[in-house]
């Protein structure tokens, strides 16, 4: 019996040595250690071995079983290693310098700039509102203190519609509705498309975007406006900006200002962006006209506030160094695809 075991050991060791594949390994394992495997058979038949040798034979057979198991495992590992080596050796070298379809689309520059600004404003507690594109004459003009036949209507060439409405010439057209909706105190911005009946050239578009903002509370002063605009614009340009106010006339504010910033691109030394003027006229603003507050249902004796308008199209052009305003509405993907989504 013991000889048998030894022979068996010899036989399987040889077989294991000649294993070439995982399948071989499995069949050798089954032959030796399967349910009817030769080594297992010995263990199953131990009861037939005479009592005195039973333990010894059992021990040897068990030892053999463990030995074969280990050898097969070892062989399997060797085979795996060979397999990996072969895989690596035969692997196709992947050329990552070949262009691939990144399948990343693009957002419109206005969307990107508007979203950035909206994030800044919501961080400062402003609600974002949406205005209409077609507005009543009342909302676009009367409610912002531009009565019929007022010369201020010349400041904006208007697209008139056959039903007497207009394509809104300014985001201010939403002021009245927003004041009526929220009352005071109020902090809101309202970005939107605006329209002017103008011939197109590199710096004139009949369709462009503005973002208007209003802040109404008790005791809002000119000094607060300057502080606010400076803080806001520093966020927009991601650096401390110097601002200055000049008188400007906009019928819906009193006093009205033109806000200039010291050119953030050259620091005021003079460059293409500021047209070598060191200041950039950026945003009309002012203290909301008492009549406008009144028409919006807010008591100008109790509340005051400021309003400002940012040219989104202008900011987008500055941000991306676009020198022709018409590019924004061109639908030309050769232009727009450059604005890959982050």
């Amino acid at each position: 019996m013991e000889e048998n075991i030894e022979k068996l050991g010899q036989k399987f060791k040889e077989k294991i040595n000649s294993i070439k594949s995982m399948a071989d390994a499995e069949s050798v394992r089954v032959e030796a250690l399967g349910k009817k495997g030769e080594v297992i058979e010995i263990l199953k038949n131990l009861k037939n071995v005479e009592e005195s040798k039973r333990k010894e034979v059992g021990d040897k057979a068990n030892k053999l079983r463990v030995e074969i198991e280990e050898l097969i495992e070892k062989k399997k590992e060797e085979l795996k290693e060979l397999e990996y080596e072969a895989k690596i050796k035969n692997a196709e070298k992947i050329d990552l310098t070949v262009p691939v379809d990144d399948k990343v689309g693009s957002l419109h520059p206005i969307t990107i700039v508007s979203r950035e600004l909206e994030d800044i404003f919501t961080g400062m507690g402003f609600t974002v509102e949406d205005g209409n594109e077609v507005e009543t004459e009342y909302n676009n003009f009367e409610a912002v203190n531009v009565p019929k036949y007022h010369p201020a209507r010349d400041m904006q060439d208007t697209f008139w519609l056959e039903n007497g409405e207009v394509l809104k010439t300014q985001t201010s057209a939403a002021q009245n509705k927003i004041m009526k909706k929220y009352g005071a105190p109020l902090k809101a911005i309202f970005p939107g498309r605006c329209f002017r009946n103008e011939a197109l050239d590199a710096s004139h578009e009949n369709t462009f975007f503005q973002m208007e903002g209003m802040m109404i509370d008790k005791n809002v002063s000119i000094s607060n406006l300057i502080y606010f605009m400076k803080t806001l614009l520093s966020e927009v340009f991601k650096k401390e900006v110097e601002v200055r106010l000049r008188p400007g006339f906009f019928p819906f504010v009193e006093p009205g200002f033109e806000l200039d910033i010291k050119c953030p691109y050259c620091g005021g030394v003079g460059c293409k962006v500021c047209k070598y003027g060191s200041w950039i006229e950026l945003c009309p603003c002012g203290m909301i006209h008492p009549k406008v507050l009144e028409m919006g249902g807010i008591d100008p004796e109790e509340y005051s506030g400021f309003a400002f308008g940012l040219g989104l199209s202008r900011l987008a052009m500055m941000k991306y160094n676009i020198n022709d305003l018409r590019a924004l509405n061109s639908c030309d993907l050769r232009v727009l695809k450059q604005m890959k989504i982050k």
Binding site: H108, F159, N219, I222, P247, F249, G256, S304
Partner: protein, 797 residues
């Protein structure tokens, strides 16, 4: 508007003040300056000289050889001007002088040496007249710098007209001088005027103003005076040069003087030839009339246009332009001088209607102060007398004053001013500023009572906010220290539609590689025709620059097709989207309805229509599922509304039974006109409607602890049976344990399955309380099969 610094200096002493810095301060305190021009810097060394002799030059029709006396010596000069004559005193550019920036040297003309040149007004830079050389008064001293006789040197700055829209008082130099005096804190000199009272005993001129509306008269005031014995024809160099520098051409003495007053005081004036107009009426036209204005144009005037009449003949369009008939002629010596005030709206309407935006109209439409009428006449006579000392006044100041503006008093207190500005200013500064700007003020403790001067009271200044502006701007906005205010912070409500819009945009760009475009809200008529797109009639723009493109879009799809048309020329695929507005109008004069719509346009030369349809569907599914947990229903459309939609492959998109729009293959006709090789799909989704649909909150479902069972069924159905129909049959089945099902495969083969297709679906069933028994599993299978069978959907054998 152009401002002459020389003119300003008539009223404010600017000695020792840096003019450029002053103009900067003007920008910072009053109104935007658009540019500065320094006249006379390119001229030097030009002197007066007399032509002593004139000789023809042989073989030249034009040239003359002159001997010119510069006060020291005689110089030989060749000159081509037609108006040379012996004894004429001229502006002479001698050798070594500078004209138009060029150095003058010895030149040879027609073989003759010329030692300098006689200048025209254009060459000197004081007008655009180049018809002859300047001829000065005979008694002009010789050899003196021309600049002592003709005020060539001046600094002109241009103020942005728009920023003066609300400041009628700044439409003349005297008003600007008042601002400048305040800015530099120096006194404003009073205007020198003729004392009109001395003529009060003289005859009054007949002025008849018809007042049709007492509340809102069209003519607020009409003043006139008669001036005789005007013999001079040309205004002085001072007047002519100032007018030219400020953008007006010199015409004759009287026209120039009325323009001069307008540019000095802002008050338009009109001089009628007294032989034609010796009395006036002011009333509207009873019927439409043709009228010839003094520019020689025949104009059609509407009934109701306000006119100046002489007896029964209209002689001027009030406040806009005079008539040709009553124009000042060369032999006019007697004039009827008008200084009037008309309603701003009326003037603006008339000027706009006639497209005749004269300077007078531009002034009147700013709402001028009627008090100016009298001042302007008094000033006019004083200045005309300076020009022509022999004039005589032969009438009393004649005046019909229909409506005075109410006097305005504003009460304000110092703490209010400080609060509004956000800085505490001294009472001294506040009162000084207001006094310099000619407000009458009374101070009582902190309270200030302010009387607004008439020239600010027509519309500009009426309330406290206006006073705040006056004080703050003169103080200088730069000098206000920015200060925070501790406003209450409250959480910001986000607009669901706007949020959805952004999420959708990001998704389309990042997941599907589409590009956002912006376009126009009106249809492109020409392109519609080229591409064969038919659009529905809709609200129109009445005054667009491009006449054809005036219909507002009712649908987004045409915009998408324009973009595809444009881009497929350059690339093999164009996938675009825009969240834009569409409009709906019922042609009833009512308001337009406005919608926020996502338009999607997918086009490719590489992909099939089917692939693009599935991509569009995937896009819509993803957008709807953003934070919403909802499923979309796609309903095959039997009729398509728009001609770009495919009659077979168009699907309505619904969520919760609410229609959001459609996805459609583009009609082959239109594809053909874009690119016959392309596959094109468009979709329109009402993002506003979707944003308003209440969200389904996501409910967590526990995973069953018991084993689930899956089985596949392969159905053979008619080719045109839709998967949606199969789903309906599955949902109708009385299955108790269905946990889910999914499409494994759709197999179509022309050879093996004639007119049919095989659809394989995998079902998952299970229970939360038990492991299913074989009987239960079989029962489930049977239920679904029964339901499918009742819809003629059988499993493959």
């Amino acid at each position: 508007m152009y401002i002459s610094i020389n003119w300003i200096k008539d009223f404010v002493d600017l000695d020792g003040i840096d003019v450029e810095n002053l103009i900067y301060k003007f920008t910072m305190s009053t109104a935007e300056v658009e540019g500065i021009t320094k006249h006379g810097q390119d001229v030097s060394g030009v002197i007066t000289a007399r032509i002593e002799s004139v000789e023809e030059v042989e073989n030249s029709k034009k040239l003359h050889k002159l001997m010119v006396n510069n006060g020291k010596e005689l110089l030989q000069v060749v000159c081509g001007a037609p108006n040379v004559r012996e004894g004429a005193v001229v502006a002479f550019a001698q050798v070594g002088s500078k004209v138009q920036g060029q150095n003058i040297g010895v030149a040879t003309l027609a073989g003759i040496e010329s030692n300098g040149m006689c200048l025209s007004e254009k060459e000197l830079g004081v007008s655009d007249d180049h018809s002859g050389i300047i001829i000065l008064d005979d008694d002009t001293p010789l050899g003196v710098d021309i600049k002592t006789i003709i005020p060539v040197d001046d600094i002109i700055y241009e103020v942005d007209n728009k920023s003066l829209t609300n400041r009628p008082d700044l439409w003349g130099h005297y008003g600007i001088a008042r601002e400048i005096a305040t800015i530099v804190n120096r006194p404003l000199k009073p205007l020198e005027v003729e004392e009109l009272n001395q003529y009060r005993e003289l005859e009054k001129l007949a002025i008849d103003v018809a007042v049709e509306n007492e509340e809102n008269p069209l003519c607020l005031r009409y003043s006139a005076m008669r001036v005789e014995n005007v013999t001079k024809k040309q205004a002085s160099w001072k007047v002519k040069t100032r007018l030219y520098y400020c953008g007006m051409r010199s015409i004759n003495l009287l026209a120039d003087m009325t323009n001069y007053i307008m540019m000095e005081l802002g008050q338009p004036m009109h001089a009628f030839d007294e032989r034609v107009v010796d009395s006036v009426g002011v009333r509207t036209l009873p019927e439409a009339t043709k009228f010839t204005t003094l520019d020689g144009q025949d104009r059609d005037l509407d009934k109701g246009t306000l006119m100046i009449w002489h007896k029964d003949t209209p002689v001027a369009i009030a406040g806009v332009m005079g008539g040709l008939q009553s124009e000042i002629e060369d032999d006019t010596t007697k004039l009827f001088l008008e200084s009037a005030n008309f309603d701003a709206v009326q003037i603006r309407k008339t000027a706009a209607k006639l497209d005749l935006r004269t300077d007078a109209a531009a002034h009147y439409e700013k709402t001028l102060d009627p008090e100016l009428c009298e001042l302007a006449i008094a000033r006019f006579i004083k200045l005309l007398r300076d020009e022509d000392k022999d004039i005589t006044i032969t009438s009393a100041f004649s005046d019909v004053y229909v409506k005075k503006y109410p006097h305005i008093t504003i009460h304000i207190d110092k703490p209010f001013i400080d609060r509004a500005i956000g800085k505490v200013l001294s009472m001294e500064e506040v009162t000084r500023t207001l006094t310099n700007l000619k407000y009458d003020i009374k101070v009582d403790g902190d309270n200030i009572t302010i009387e607004v001067p008439t020239f600010r009271a027509t519309k500009d200044v009426s309330q406290k906010a206006d006073i705040i502006e006056e004080i703050a701007r003169i103080h200088g906005y730069d000098n206000i220290v920015p200060e925070s205010n501790l406003w209450k912070i409250s959480p910001v409500q986000k607009d669901p539609v706007r949020e959805l819009e952004y999420s959708a945009k990001e998704l389309l760009a990042s997941k599907y590689g589409a590009s956002e475009i912006h376009s126009y809200v009106w249809y492109n008529t020409e392109l519609n025709q080229e591409l064969g797109i038919k659009t529905r009639d809709n609200l129109k723009i009445t005054n667009g620059i491009v006449r054809l493109d005036n219909t507002l879009r009712h649908e987004m799809a045409p915009t998408m097709l324009y973009a595809i048309h444009k881009n497929l020329k350059y690339m093999s695929e164009a996938k675009v989207f825009e969240v834009g507005r569409t409009f709906d109008y019922h042609f009833d004069g009512g308001l337009a309805e406005e919608y926020k719509v996502l338009g999607i346009g997918l086009s490719s030369l590489k992909q099939t229509e089917k692939e693009l349809m599935y991509e569009a569907k995937s896009m819509v599914d993803s957008i709807v599922s953003i934070d919403r947990n909802m499923t979309v229903e796609y309903k095959h459309m039997e009729d398509v509304e728009n001609n770009w939609m495919h009659p077979v492959n168009s699907y309505e998109v619904l969520v919760n039974g609410i229609s959001l729009g459609y996805i459609s293959v583009v009609h082959p006709k239109i594809v053909d006109s874009i690119n016959p090789k392309a596959a094109i799909v468009v979709a329109e989704i009402r993002i506003d409607t979707l944003g308003e649909i209440a969200k389904h909150e996501i409910e967590y479902k526990e995973i069953s602890k018991y084993q689930t069972v899956t089985f596949d069924l392969s159905l053979i159905v008619d080719k045109d049976v839709m998967y949606g129909d199969i789903e309906k049959a599955i949902k109708e089945a009385k299955m108790q344990y269905l946990m889910g099902y999914e499409l494994v495969d759709i197999y179509e083969s022309a050879e093996k399955l004639l007119g049919k297709k095989a659809v394989t679906i995998r079902f998952t069933i299970g229970s939360y309380t038990d492991t299913l028994t074989k009987e239960q599993i079989d029962k489930e299978r049977e239920e679904v099969l029964n339901s499918l069978k009742s819809h003629q959907m059988n499993i493959a054998e």
